[in-house]
């Protein structure tokens, strides 16, 4: 075991895969010499050389598009989008090719590639640096979208993502890149993608969150505990595929469900989870599924961001409301 934050853990996962698999290539904007703007890839170019870990021209479509080419030609590219807000030039490559090549060629061609990117708010950033647009990507057939919430999960999930023969969008909650430290297993291990994790058992209400929101829910749970409310916390970990089974089982037990997400509300991940709760546990529900989410507005600049973001109070407010419903 070793104490790591999420940046260390992701770096460790990349280090392990680069070390054992020659077909793994890591590239993107400023990931080589500088080691990434968040230092996630620090030291990797030095260790594995500029042929395997390198900086590219500043062009997101080019980065993802070339990764599609490398992947069909037998490599396992792990590319970085510097921020979620800058992925849109690459959207066509993701939705038109990375997610479709396998289906288009009836399985003759595969695109085993990982697109990593930091996402989410709460770090007083410039415009376009705070969005949580996972729902957009969760809607793309052929793509898998995952989000770790702890260093341990980040390492195990990234190793699984790199080893997967599917195209994986790996979203990193940058707000907690360095905020959480924990003991992480040394050496190689992987966590199956698509499986949620029950972080706390409870009886009164199920709260589903992922990424940086998990920690906010955990803080709200302290308030809930004082109020005598028992919360079951599910870390979704995968936006697509969704772990219906874990959600269903929990809602059947608690009869209530709240989703906590950072993205805009309408057509968001919370809507999908709520629908699953209705389909799987309709007769068990004692309150309407509820969504704590961003509003359908642009993420405000830092001075206004707190109006948009979910915090423990907002979450506890909703927990209390739903339990008393």
């Amino acid at each position: 075991m070793k104490i790591m934050n999420m940046v260390n853990a992701i770096n460790d996962a990349l280090d392990i895969k680069l070390g054992e698999d020659k077909s793994v290539i890591v590239y993107g904007e400023d990931v080589g010499v500088e080691g990434g703007v968040f230092r996630v890839t620090e030291g990797l170019q030095k260790k594995y050389g500029a042929e395997r870990v390198f900086d590219t021209p500043l062009a997101e479509s080019g980065i993802v598009g070339t990764a599609v080419g490398m992947a069909v030609a037998g490599l396992r590219p792990v590319v970085e989008m510097q921020f979620c807000g800058f992925i849109y030039p690459a959207f066509n490559q993701i939705i038109s090719h990375a997610s479709r090549m396998r289906n288009r060629s009836r399985g003759q061609l595969e695109t085993p590639m990982v697109i990593r990117m930091p996402y989410g708010g709460g770090i007083n950033a410039l415009e376009h640096h705070s969005e949580s647009m996972e729902a957009i990507f969760g809607h793309i057939p052929g793509l898998k979208v995952v989000v770790p919430s702890t260093p341990h999960d980040a390492k195990g999930m990234l190793i699984a993502a790199i080893e997967s023969n599917d195209t994986i969008l790996f979203m990193e909650p940058k707000r907690i890149y360095r905020a959480i430290k924990q003991e992480v297993e040394e050496g190689k291990f992987s966590i199956p993608l698509g499986k949620a994790s029950v972080l706390a058992q409870g009886n009164d209400v199920t709260v589903v969150a992922y990424g940086a929101m998990v920690r906010e829910v955990q803080k709200a749970m302290l308030m809930a505990k004082e109020a005598g409310i028992s919360v079951e916390l599910i870390d979704l970990r995968s936006i697509y595929p969704v772990d219906r089974e874990t959600i269903a089982k929990s809602v059947k037990k608690t009869g209530r469900i709240i989703t906590v997400t950072e993205g805009p509300r309408t057509y968001g991940v919370g809507s999908e989870i709520s629908q699953i709760a209705i389909e799987e546990a309709f007769l068990h529900l004692e309150a309407p599924p509820s969504r704590v989410s961003g509003y359908d507005v642009i993420v405000p600049l830092p001075k206004g961001e707190h109006h948009y973001m979910q915090d423990p109070y907002k979450i506890f407010y909703e927990i209390e409301r739903i339990v008393k419903y």
């Binding site: 080019g62 066509n92 396998r102 009836r106 898998k144």
Partner: protein, 363 residues
Amino acid sequence: MFDEYNPLNKAMFRVIDNDGKVVNKKWMPQIDDDKLLKIYKDILFARTADLQIVSYQRQGRIFTYPPNYGQEAIAAAAGVLIRENDWLVPAFREMGAMLAKGVTLKEIFLYFMGYEDGSAFKNAKYTLPMSVPISSQLPHAAGIGYAVKYKKEDKVVIGFAGDAGTSEGDFHEALNFAGVWKVPVIFIIQNNQYGISTPVRMQTASDSLAIKSIAYGVKGIQVDGNDFFAMYKTIEESVRICRNGEGPVLIEAVTYRKGAHTTSDDPTKYRSKVEEEEWDAKDPVKRLRAYLIDKNLWTLEQEEKIIPQYKEEIDRQFTEAEKYGPYPAGDIFRFLYAEMPDDLREQQAQYERFLAWKSTKVK
């Protein structure tokens, strides 16, 4: 050759004139007679197939199709020079190159009949399926080029796009990445003068499309794409450059789309008869045929005899494709992921339950 025809000099590279006479002996490629005859027959076969597909479409036996008519020399030259283990990254108007790579006519038919199975090439290795979003395939070519270089393989990549494709960001990004990476990729732009209805002069203020290579620091050349020999020589030279590690290369192949953009398009709306006739005089098949006849390698009688044989063979493959059978419901689900999500499996089961129910209601 690339120095002599530097795009800044604004001279288009050609070897034969419109009558099939060699006007540029210096760069006339060495191809022996038997091989040349086979190439011509392959071009003739591809043209016959292409025209026939359009008529199948008119008969309602195939869906939308983008004809190759008038541009065949380009894909044919690439097809002759591309080796089994080289990569082909097509757009969607390169039938000759795809056939040369081992894609069957039947597969091409299946694709345009509406089966993805037509893109699951059984014999053609290192060949990507056709790419519909314009120029989006070019970054793939650059990425494959990187993989080839990284693995130290003796391969080149040939990627295609059209004139309007040079307006897309992906064209720029692919050329730029390939240039920085110095990868063995030959980008061939089929300048057929129109992006659907929009003429090339409305795509760019540049003097040519080849001249764009200068800005990326890569070799570029403008070639008469209706001159088979010029195309052959250019690609042959480009392959040599790439194999020497001096790639990538940008080739602008100047041609004319004699047919419609697709079978849904009506070119009379945006181009004149006069223009069409002008280009008809430069038709690539006519020019190569004139050369062969002049060299006593071919006769019109032979051509008249062989075309019906081709038509029969094409029709045989088409009829076979028509018998391909129903599209299994499971096929819409099962190829999407290497590891299929449980929820998707459940969606498939749900659909199959519905189909079973429907079969009891609808006879």
